[in-house]
């Protein structure tokens, strides 16, 4: 069952083509990894999916499509999240309940339960009275993830949730996302770390210069020719216990592409 369907998405900024005829779908129960070099259009695609950016062509269908329903059922974790007020962890996580509350309503027992559950799942319950700006990067990201989970969404869209995290916290986040994507849920996660992507995603979509270069199982998408073409790298592969990949070296004659290409 498809939770998100996007067809022929086209986005341009100032004549630069950011996304060109991108198709994407998210199925129930899967962790979909969105990968690609810097400037490939991953964050933009995510913004189109969440409805924040309107594509100049193409359509997106999330769940049943109704707007306020979407807010309750889809959670978005943007890149480099800014927190404007020095909130305590518990208060920040409870912000995730906003789609479920009318202006005059207070947090009810349902809400408290969801918040507690989210904090437990992300293992930040012991921090609940600490102030978010006092936390280190790893814990902070977990708290932000807890906020997203507190909404009790069906779909989670996360833009580089492990950026700047140490290996333990990075793994912790990815393990959480895996557990989340069970029978009734789905996750789209933008990742730079190919090792993690291969390890935790059921399917990958590789974007290159705004186009889908490859999509499918990690073993297929992360084939050497794809990596060479998009990232200009070579990797080492392993299959002991499970498929894994480690980026190894850059390929000679690397051209650093800027953000998209002008007018084809």
């Amino acid at each position: 069952m498809r939770m998100i369907e996007a067809q022929k998405i086209r986005v341009s900024f100032d004549g630069l083509k950011i996304l060109r005829d991108v198709d994407l779908e998210l199925r129930k129960g899967e962790v979909l990894g969105l990968i690609g070099p810097n400037g490939a259009g991953k964050s933009t695609l995510l913004k189109v999916l969440i409805g924040e950016l309107t594509p100049e062509f193409g359509n997106v269908k999330i769940l049943d499509g109704k707007k306020d329903h979407v807010a309750k059922k889809v959670a978005y974790l943007p890149q480099g999240q800014v927190i404007h007020w020095p909130l305590s962890v518990k208060r920040l996580v409870s912000l995730g309940r906003i789609p479920h509350l009318m202006p005059w309503e207070q947090l009810g027992p349902e809400d408290e339960k969801a918040i507690a559950q989210a904090m437990e799942d992300t293992d930040v319950a012991h921090l609940k009275d600490r102030f978010v700006d006092h936390l280190a990067g790893g814990e902070r990201n977990l708290v932000l993830l807890a906020r997203a989970l507190a909404t009790q969404p069906s779909v989670l869209l996360a833009d580089e949730p492990v950026q700047g995290l140490d290996p333990a916290h990075g793994l912790q986040v990815m393990e959480l996302l895996s557990r989340f994507a069970d029978a009734e849920h789905g996750v789209i996660v933008v990742l730079h770390d190919l090792t993690l992507a291969a390890r935790f995603c059921h399917r990958l979509v590789l974007l290159h210069q705004g186009k889908v270069l490859a999509s499918g199982k990690p073993e297929e998408v992360l084939a050497p020719e794809n990596l060479k073409k998009s990232y200009h790298i070579e990797a080492k592969y392993g299959t002991k216990d499970a498929f894994y990949i480690v980026p190894w070296k850059t390929v000679q004659g690397v051209r650093r592409t800027a953000y998209g290409e002008r007018n084809e």
């Binding site: 978005y76 404007h84 912000l95 906003i98 202006p103 700006d133 906020r147």
Partner: protein, 348 residues
């Protein structure tokens, strides 16, 4: 030992340990502030150049003191409450919306613009012809100021941009007001400038109250409706949108709501500043820095602060009557400077 803060745009870096101690449940906050408001209101009714036995005046409606109580002091107290609550609420709302603790209708030029609008309507005789013209003039002036402000500094502007915008709007408003008063036929009208720049609740009557009440209440309604949206904005516009906040209508309600209540309030009481800066700042730790929760109690706090200032105006003996705006500035301006001082590392 403090961890170095992670995200770079967080404005206030003071130690939060005291804050945790001051977080209080809503019922307690509203209870305490509500009781304080009642007490201060009663005090306000009791203060004046003549001594009236309060109970007597209430029980005997045609006694000497009764007219003074009901027709002079009561409208003054009610207006003090309405205007103070408006300024507190609007200040908290602007801070939540702009994600900046320095935002305030006075500092950012909204009260100045409202005063100019009201002055134009008042001295051209429009207000005498059509009494609603006065609050409408104030509202229009406030609306244009807020619009300018949000156009100029809406998208997460830096403190400098915000304050500069406020300075510009204030300068325009002040010059415009002075000009209108200068050009009025009545040579003594220019003396009214003290009222428009410094504010006063003296000798206001019930006509003023009824003139502004509907606008103020509607403005409050629109601002309070967006409590949750302001909370959501703590995480930035993208996340807020994903939480179901319609940013366009939020902006509209913020602009109109602020314009309506601040514009109407200023049109009958003149410019009164700093209430919307001091009150939310003092009360923020009690609600754990959540902007939405701050709205209601800032309204209460603002009403209390303004009524106390108005009591001070009447109690402090002076040869010339002390102006309300002067008292709030005496409290607020040093506060403002202190806040900027605290934030100077970010300003550099």
């Amino acid at each position: 030992m403090k961890h170095s803060g992670i995200h770079p745009t967080h404005p206030l870096r003071h130690a939060h340990t005291q804050d945790r101690l001051s977080e209080a449940p809503a019922w307690l906050l509203y209870g305490v502030l509500g009781a304080a408001l009642v007490a201060v209101s009663l005090w306000s009714l009791n203060v004046g150049p003549t001594k009236i036995p309060l109970w007597n005046a209430i029980l005997h409606p045609s006694s000497e003191g009764a007219f003074i109580l009901w027709d002079i002091r009561l409208p003054r107290a009610i207006l003090g409450l309405l205007v103070g609550a408006t300024l507190g609420l609007a200040g908290a709302a602007m801070q939540g919306f702009l994600r900046n603790p320095l935002a305030e209708p006075g500092v950012l030029g909204v009260t100045g613009g409202a005063a100019l609008g009201a002055v134009l309507v008042f001295y051209t005789g429009l207000a005498s012809a059509f009494s609603l013209a006065l609050p409408l003039g104030g509202i229009l002036g406030a609306f244009l100021s807020v619009l300018l402000l949000y156009l100029f500094a809406g998208r997460l502007a830096s403190i400098q941009t915000l304050i500069l915008a406020g300075v510009a709007i204030n300068v325009i408003a002040f010059s415009g007001t002075s000009l209108v008063l200068n050009l009025t036929k009545d040579p003594y009208a220019v003396l009214d400038i003290v009222f428009w720049q410094m504010g006063s609740l003296a000798d206001r009557n019930f006509t003023h109250v009824f003139l502004v009440l509907p606008f103020i209440l509607i403005g409050w309604g629109w601002l309070l409706w967006d409590r949750r949206a302001l909370d959501a904005l703590s995480l930035g516009e993208e996340t807020a949108a994903s939480l179901g906040v319609d940013l366009k209508t939020l902006r509209l309600r913020m602009i109109l709501g602020t314009a309506l209540c601040v514009g109407a309030a200023v049109s009958v009481c003149g410019s009164i500043g700093f209430v919307g800066l001091v009150v939310p700042h003092l009360l923020r730790p009690f609600v754990g820095h959540e902007p939405g929760k701050l709205l209601g109690i800032s309204a209460l706090g603002g009403a209390i602060l303004l009524l106390l200032s108005d009591i001070a105006v009447r109690l402090i003996p002076s040869i010339v009557e002390l102006k309300l705006g002067v008292v709030t500035s005496l409290i607020g301006a040093p506060f403002f400077i202190l806040l900027i001082f605290k934030m100077r590392r970010k300003l550099l």
